[in-house]
Amino acid sequence: MLGNQKNAIWEALLLTIVVFIFGIFLGMAFEDSKFNEINEYYSQSELSLMDVIALNNLLDLKSSDCNLLIKSNTEFADKIYAEATLLEKYESSGKITSTLKIAHKKYDLLRTFLWINSIKIKDKCPKNYSFVVYLYEYEQKDLTQKAKQGVWSNVLFDLKQEEGNKIILIPIAVDSNLTSLNSIVSKFNISEFPVIIINNKDVITELSTTNQLKKYLS
């Protein structure tokens, strides 16, 4: 009888292993479901981007108007900004797999496209709108810089709320190791992140208020 009782030690270990493995698989399935959800958004956003690029190409043929192009670009930017916010929330649930990190990288690439497109549009359509690129580090280890990134994020959110369609907000993680992104960023000789680049000319490294940022807008 006593010998059987002591089997509980191994039975508990076995049960724990089984429950633990089940829990890990459940967690992976949960993370995958979030990734799939984000992927669906991403596919739609990809279509939107292609649409904006197509419109941009039409502009080269002088057969499209700037208003439509800016409107489409802004809508696209707002869409992926909202999706990025959702992704950010989901990312905190990504504990086991790295699928959501990959999704983040894909969005960074999409936003790099958006940045390039915004530069082109700004050149061709000198209208009253601005684009604000926020470059930060995804794997930020420095705690003060991490705190600063959190505050920058809030400041830019406030700015977007106040300015609405007048600005395009493009937050991009610079440590995504994207060649195209690195190429653009290298032109600005930036040594430390986070930074804000407004309309591809003003590089702001010091934390500012929304009112101070507004002065740089077109």
Partner: protein
């Protein structure tokens, strides 16, 4: 996967393991929890009470022993360890009225409960020897429910359920819950021969075994843990009688509570140190009790370092976040900061919480008392989420004390 995630998952695994272990022992034995062997023989028994400055409680303790309905009780030996209060007079007055009560005094203060206990044991010549702390009150039928276990010649000691006597202050109420969980867990561990302590409020030893292990180790602050390990080490079993109850006075303020817990932990460290060579050897002592102790301590201490690191990191980030937010004139907290997306750690956490609450509920339902019906939901929550968190801090303080060799009772 991040290192912190791996650490959290490891902790979840350990917590799940111990919860499952307790449930797997409990389920098949749930109807036997309160069983005890009937008396087939009236073993002769002497009970030793070590006493040092306990004038307020010693009288009650002796009286509770005088009221025991066990017929084999021959002597109650009260050892006055050179008290400086009126303990001696109180004992003397009772001894004069009751021939069973024998008052002895140590030649000089031993400085430790173990010293007084060993001194009292010299006057015992019965088959069994019991020990009761001078601030504890065994119930009338408690010994009757313990002695039957000695019919098994391999039984070296029998322990009882220790309950908190006074439950007026908040800290006493929390300890009342804690003591029940400890007692219930000890009973469960008894089913796998893994009882690791025979607490001072009421424990009975086979005198032959007691002598064989050389009595209590006077260099150990928790002689009741050490002697239990020694008995198991010597090849004997230790049994637990859950229906045998003894009430004890628990610390009623944080300072005394802290002091008591430090003593328990330092004694635990001393015991681990003494029996470290049995690790993964020598039956249940080396294969379960010692690893169980070591493991739970390592987990507690490492956990507190992780928590401290996370806490300091959070404070650091929040400080800079606040400073930068003020500079940038932006909100400190927004609705966007609220994130209710769960993750795998949350799932495990909820699972462990449900199992822990269920275990606590089972314990409290099983150990209901007629005189104290309810513990209060808030007290239970405080015990689970605040009180238990203090354990690792106590361990760290105990290790510091152990290293500084500050040992006295």
């Amino acid at each position: 996967m991040e290192i912190l995630t791996i650490i959290y998952l490891t902790y979840s695994f350990i917590a799940l393991y111990f919860l499952f272990l307790f449930f797997l022992i409990y389920i098949p034995n749930r109807k036997e929890m309160f069983n005890f062997p009937n008396l087939t023989k009236e073993y002769s028994l002497s009970i030793v009470i070590p006493c040092h400055n306990e004038e307020e409680t010693i009288g009650g303790t002796i009286n509770s022993l005088l009221e025991l309905d066990y017929k084999g009780l021959k002597k109650i030996i009260v050892v006055d360890d050179c008290s400086t209060d009126n303990s001696y007079k109180v004992i003397e007055a009772i001894a004069k009225k009751h021939p069973k009560v024998m008052l002895v005094k140590t030649p000089k203060n031993t400085g430790k409960a173990s010293g007084a206990k060993n001194y009292g044991a010299k006057f015992v010549n019965t088959e069994l020897i019991g020990f009761v702390d001078a601030d504890s009150y065994p119930q009338k039928d408690s010994v009757n429910k313990m002695v039957g276990f000695f019919d098994d010649i391999k039984t070296g000691a029998v322990t009882s359920q220790v309950l908190v006597k006074r439950r007026e202050k908040f800290i006493e109420k929390l300890q009342a819950i804690e003591y029940k969980i400890i007692a219930f867990s000890r009973k469960l561990l008894g089913f796998i021969d893994a009882i690791y302590v025979t607490p001072g409020p009421l424990a009975i030893y086979r005198k032959e075994v007691f002598d064989k292990v050389g009595g209590f180790d006077e260099n150990n602050l928790t002689e009741d843990i050490e002697i239990t390990w020694h008995i198991v080490y010597s090849g004997y079993n230790v049994k637990m009688s859950l229906p045998a109850k003894a009430h004890t006075i628990s610390p009623d303020n944080l300072k005394d509570w802290f002091k008591q817990r430090i003593r328990w932990n330092v004694g635990g460290i001393q015991t681990i140190n003494k029996y470290k060579k049995t690790f993964l050897k020598k039956g249940m002592l080396g294969n379960f009790i010692l690893p169980f102790f070591l493991f739970s301590w390592f987990v507690g201490i490492f956990g507190i370092f992780i928590l401290t690191y996370r806490f300091l990191r959070r404070i650091f980030i929040n400080y800079f976040f606040t400073a930068y937010s003020i500079k940038a004139q932006t909100a400190l907290l927004t609705l966007r900061d609220i994130n209710l997306t769960p993750n795998v750690l949350v799932f495990f956490g909820i699972g462990i919480l449900i199992l822990s609450l269920s275990f606590t509920a089972i314990v409290l339902l099983h150990l209901r008392e007629t005189e104290f019906k309810k513990h209060g939901f808030l007290n239970i929550l405080s015990y689970m989420f605040v009180y238990l968190l203090a354990y690792p801090f106590l361990l760290i303080a105990s290790i510091y004390k152990f290293l500084r060799k500050k040992r006295s009772w």
